[in-house]
Each structure stands twice: as C-alpha cells, then as structure tokens.
C-alpha cells in the first residue's frame, strides 16, 4: 500500500472510532444518570426547566432515536448550554481550546526535550549513579499528585519569590496578542511583538513545567529501555567491531532505532497530558477547557463536562493518527 492510500485508509478508520466515542458519551449523559434531564438542568432547576430539557432531548423517545438526535446535534455543533452562564458550550469550547492546546504542546515539548536526553544518559550509564538518580526521579515524578505539586510550586516560585506570575495566561490589564492560531506564543511571533511573546512565555512556563513532569518521567523510562534493547543488538556490536567510537555508535546507530518504539509512548503520554490539564489548569487559573470542566464539575453543570470529554477524546484520536503517520515517516522499513 502506498503512503497516500495508507493515509486515506487511516482516515477511514477514524470513523468507527469517533462513532464509538459518541456512543460512549451518549451512554454517559443519557443512560448512566438516574434522570438525565434533571442532571442537564442543574441542581437549582425548576420543574419547568427540567421539562423543557426533557422535551428538547426527546427523552421519551427510544434510545436509538435519542442517539441519532444526539449525533445530529453534535454534527451541527450543538454541545448543549451551560446552565450557569447560558452560553453555548460549543462557543465556550472554541474560545478556550487554544489555551489548553498551547499548554499541552509546551508541556510535551519540555517533556521530550528533557526526557529524551535523560533517558539516553540513563541507558549509557546503566546501573551507575547517573542512572540510579534518574530512575529515582522518574518513579518520584509519576507518583506526585500533579495538583498538589502545582500548588507547592505556585506557593514557592510565585507567591514567595515572585519569579513567575501566580497564574492566568496574560496580565488582566493588558490586551493579549490577537492572531490566527489563538496560541499566544505563535501569535505574538506572528506580529513580531517580543513583549507579548515574553509575557506569554513567562505565564506559560510554570504550568507547563508542572504538567510535563509525569510524561517526562514516562518518556525517560521508555527511552532508557529502548536504548538498552537496541544496544544489545548484533548490528551495534558490528559497528563497535569495525572501530566506531562509542559516541558515534550511539548518535548515529542506536538513537534513531531506539526512538521509533518510544514514539508510541510519546503519543500515549500526550493523552495523559491532555487529562492532566484538568488538574493543572484549575490551580493556575488557566483559561482552557480543563479549568472549564472543573468549574462546571463544582457547580454540577453537566453539559460543559460532556463537551470537554468529547473534545479531549477527539483531540487524542487525532494525536494518535499523527503519531501513526510519523511512524511511517521515521521508519522506512514500515510497509503500509
């Protein structure tokens, strides 16, 4: 199969996945709750409001009919309304998604930029002290409650020493960069506005660092294992036998081969990081979809939570698609 046909095939395979996703979210919002209408209407709804929602959802219809209406709504961008603000969930999500995307991308960048060298180093010094320390950190990092770590660092770095802002994406008294992507770092560069770029980066660094800690540890551990495995293979012995220096062996032969299996893990940690934003954004008052979900959860505002669930699910599916495509790009041996 050629590359183009693989791409099309992979896109076709997205359809059952996304259908499965909508069935799951449908079951959660319409089948799991004791009274879906009451749940969607919120804790302070009058009986009339509940009745309006029951009418709107057609909750007296058959489940199959309800599912098709539900999907038709989603396809028209109808994710329901927030009971608190009466805003459409779809427009709330569109407004907040870039903030989450920027945070997740920054965190993944840090996780790869720090995790990959540490993983390689750990493998090269297998069982010696740099390896022991790196592994201890890795186990610690996946064991830290991320929300607590966020609070502690916020306390130390922002409240006490004032090195970074307490939270938010941009100072409230200034106008944030406006641009095509909604990612402040990209948009400020787009306009060549260095002040905006530095201000955004200053706000971004701490939340991104906190969020990167667990994926960093996982990437490090995976890469360490993969590097060790490749280093034990015959072709590496051959390169050594023909007299290549250790550094050259690792740089030119081991890394490329070890990185390919680790790529899958990096894709998976992306999903974890997307989930982690829920906890981290809440602490840093980051105006993304994670904080949106938490604010909704506190007030039992159900529809925004389901909206976030669908968006995060679809985002994860897309990331896995990209990883699959990268796979083929990096490893010419893969036949589609």
């Amino acid at each position: 199969m050629g590359r183009g046909r693989f791409l099309i095939w992979r896109l076709v395979l997205l359809i059952p996945t996304v259908i499965g996703l909508t069935i799951l979210t449908f079951i959660i919002s319409r089948v799991v709750p004791a009274d879906p209408a009451k749940l969607a209407a919120g804790p302070r709804a009058t009986p009339e409001m509940v009745e309006t929602i029951r009418e709107k959802y057609g909750l007296n219809d058959s489940l199959v009919q309800q599912y098709f209406d539900y999907v038709r709504g989603l396809l028209h961008g109808d994710f329901g309304e927030s009971i608190l603000t009466q805003h459409k969930v779809s427009s709330d999500l569109a407004e907040r998604f870039p903030a989450t995307l920027e945070l997740v991308l920054a965190a993944m960048f840090l996780a790869v930029a720090i995790g990959v060298p540490l993983g390689v180093l750990s493998a090269i010094y297998q069982n010696r002290w740099p390896d022991q320390i790196a592994r201890l950190f890795a186990v610690s990092f996946v064991s830290i409650p991320v929300f607590w770590f966020a609070i502690i660092l916020q306390l130390a770095l922002a409240s006490r020493w004032g090195i970074v802002p307490l939270g938010r994406r941009y100072p409230t008294r200034e106008t944030p960069p406006d641009g095509p992507t909604g990612l402040f770092l990209v948009d400020s560069l787009w306009h060549g506005d260095w002040h905006a770029f530095l201000t955004s980066a200053h706000h971004l660094i701490l939340p991104a660092l906190v969020l990167s800690v667990a994926p960093l540890a996982i990437i490090m551990r995976t890469l360490r294992g993969d590097v060790l495995e490749v280093m034990g293979q015959d072709f590496v012995r051959t390169t050594r036998a023909k007299g290549l220096a250790n550094r050259a062996v690792i740089r030119h032969h081991v890394l490329k081969n070890a990185f390919i299996p680790s790529l899958t893990m990096i894709g998976l940690t992306f999903g974890w990081t997307l989930g982690g934003t829920v906890l981290v954004e809440a602490v840093f008052d980051w105006p993304g979809i994670g904080k949106y979900a938490v604010d909704a959860a506190v007030r039992l505002d159900f529809e925004p939570i389901m909206g976030v669930t669908i968006v995060v699910g679809v985002a994860f599916v897309v990331i896995n698609l990209i990883v699959d495509l990268l796979y083929g790009f990096l490893d010419p041996r893969i036949e589609y």
Binding site: R135, V142, I144, F147, V298, L300
Partner: protein, 317 residues
C-alpha cells in the same frame, strides 16, 4: 490514565519474556507445576531488592495506620468533622504535628484517617477493574475471531478518552461522592487489564505446551485455567501493584476537583483542595495530605518495580 502508561510499558517487555521463561519450566516440571517454582525463586530475589522491600514496608505501615487509625490518632474526633474554632489554623507543634485546619481539626489525625479512604478506593478500583478486565481479556485472546474483535473494539473506545477526563464525566453523571468516584474509576480502569491479558493469552495460546495439552486431550476449560491463566499472573500482579498507587492518585485528583470525597471526609485529595484556600500563609493544611498521597503512590510504584524485577529478571526495569 496516568498511569496505565508506565505499566503498559512494563507489560510489553514482560509479555514477550515471561512466556518464554515459564514455558521452559512448564515443560521441564510437568504442566501446571511450573509457576510455583518461579514464585519461590522470585520471592527470594524480591527480598534482596532494597527499593521493593522499602515500598512493601511503607505499604504495610499504611495498612496498619488505616486499621488502627482510631487508636493511633491523637484527636480521632477531628477526622469526623469536630470543630474547635479557637484552635483554627495553628502551625505544626508538638501537640499538633501537622498543625490544624480552618475548623481547628488536627491535620495529623485527619491524614492518618485518610489512609483508610485512599487504600480502600485504590484496592476497590483495581480489584473491580481486574475482575472485569482479566476474564474479558482471556476470552478475547483465547477465542480470537469475532469474540476478540467485539471485546477489543469496546476496549479501544474506552481508551480514546484520557482516564481522568472519562472518570470525571462518569463521576459527574453518577453524582459527587467517593463511592461514585470509585465506580467511575473502575469503569475507566478495566480496559488496561483487558488489553494486557488479551496480549498475553494470544501469545501463550501459540506456545508448544498449549499444543501439547491439546494433543493429550485436555479439555478447553482446563487449558485456559490451569495452563494459560497462571502464566499471565506475573504481569497482572505487577500491574495490580502499580495501578493501586495510580488509582489512589486519580481518586485524590477527582476529590480535589470536587467530584470525589466531600468535606469533612478526611480524604487526602479533598484535604488538599480545602487547604489550597489557605495557601501560602497556612501552608501545612494542604502540604501534609499531599505528601501522604505522594508517599503512598511512591510505595506502590516501588513495590511494582521490585516485583517486576524479581519475578521477571529478564525484563529491563
């Protein structure tokens, strides 16, 4: 979720290697008797693993604290929401090791009682998840074909949404509370076990010793329960150990958001959530419960790591 990832990584290596190891033994010592010899050798190796042993000791201490909390805690009434307004927000001292919270309750006593909730939730989530996931995975792996397709596609759908987000949605649908959060997390957790066991069983099914069992005319049920499932025990046990920690972490996260345990329940995540309001001046209210979460999760991770190294020495840690 967090955390499937780490164990997923572990299990991939374990999957390939464990089967080869135990298979050799099965053949040498007669079918069915193999895993036991391995277990004994593994136990000996585990005892020499210092970090694994440290993890085990911390866990045993946590279990003891959970059981004996009413007798150990200096102010047991404070765990159930006693209010001493005059003692509010006292810093750590000899009479209040971890200080007091906004209601004047002793944080140390509440942290001790918190071990009960975290351990119970961690065990319940992973137990239920294993009870659902292991049989489903075994069915899918052994029978293959349509059974496999149906089970694994459902598993895949659950894995399209990051665990904490899915648990948040299910938890919100069920209504807040620690019991509902436990149900929500269990429903999110089983696919990991299903996938692990399915892969294992799929690989084991093609091994010579299973063919041999077929040839001598062993019934299918006997092959699955006596020959195949015991060989998946090692990776499942390692995953259970690590996942208990990660389940505790996720449950604390849900409580922090407000979907799990509700105040005044002395659950660690809920305590961090409340304590956050008193940062930075009254730092102890949120700091100590968070440290407790970290210590517990860390201990289960070390135990899982140690078990993997001991039971499956060929896997890279």
């Amino acid at each position: 979720m967090t955390l499937d990832l780490v164990s997923a990584e572990a299990s991939v290596t374990v999957a390939a290697e464990a089967s080869i190891l135990t298979t050799g033994n099965e053949i040498l010592s007669g079918a069915g008797a193999g895993p036991r010899g391995n277990t004994r050798r593994g136990l000996r190796r585990f005892r020499r693993n210092r970090l694994g042993m440290a993890g085990l000791v911390i866990i045993l201490a946590l279990v003891a604290i959970a059981i004996f909390a009413p007798w150990i805690a200096p102010y047991p009434d404070d765990a159930t929401g006693a209010v001493h307004v005059t003692d509010a927000l006292l810093p750590p001292s000899w009479s209040h090791l971890f200080g007091t919270d906004d209601l004047g309750a002793d944080v140390f006593s509440r942290v001790l009682f918190g071990a009960r909730y975290s351990l119970a939730v961690g065990l319940a989530v992973v137990g239920i998840a294993a009870l659902i996931g292991v049989p489903l995975g075994a069915l899918a792996g052994y029978f293959g074909g349509y059974v496999n397709q149906i089970i694994m596609r459902i598993t895949d759908i659950f894995l399209t949404i990051p665990g904490i987000v899915l648990a948040l949605a299910i938890g919100a649908a069920l209504g807040p509370g620690l019991f509902n959060a436990t149900i929500a997390l269990s429903l999110v957790w089983w696919p990991g076990f299903c996938r692990l066991v399915q892969g294992q069983v799929l690989a084991l099914r093609q091994q010579t010793f299973v063919d041999a069992a077929h040839v001598v005319g062993a019934p299918q049920g006997r092959i699955v329960f006596r020959h195949i499932l015991p060989n998946t025990l090692t990776p499942v046990l390692v995953k259970i150990s690590m996942d208990i920690g990660f389940a505790m972490l996720s449950a604390a996260g849900l409580s922090f958001i407000g979907i799990g345990a509700q105040p005044p329940t002395p659950e660690w995540g809920a305590m961090v959530s409340l304590g956050r309001l008193y940062m930075p001046d009254w730092w102890w209210v949120a700091t100590f419960p968070g440290l407790a979460i970290f210590l517990a999760v860390f201990a289960f991770n070390m135990l899982g790591d140690g078990m993997r190294d001991a039971l499956d020495p060929r896997a890279q840690g």
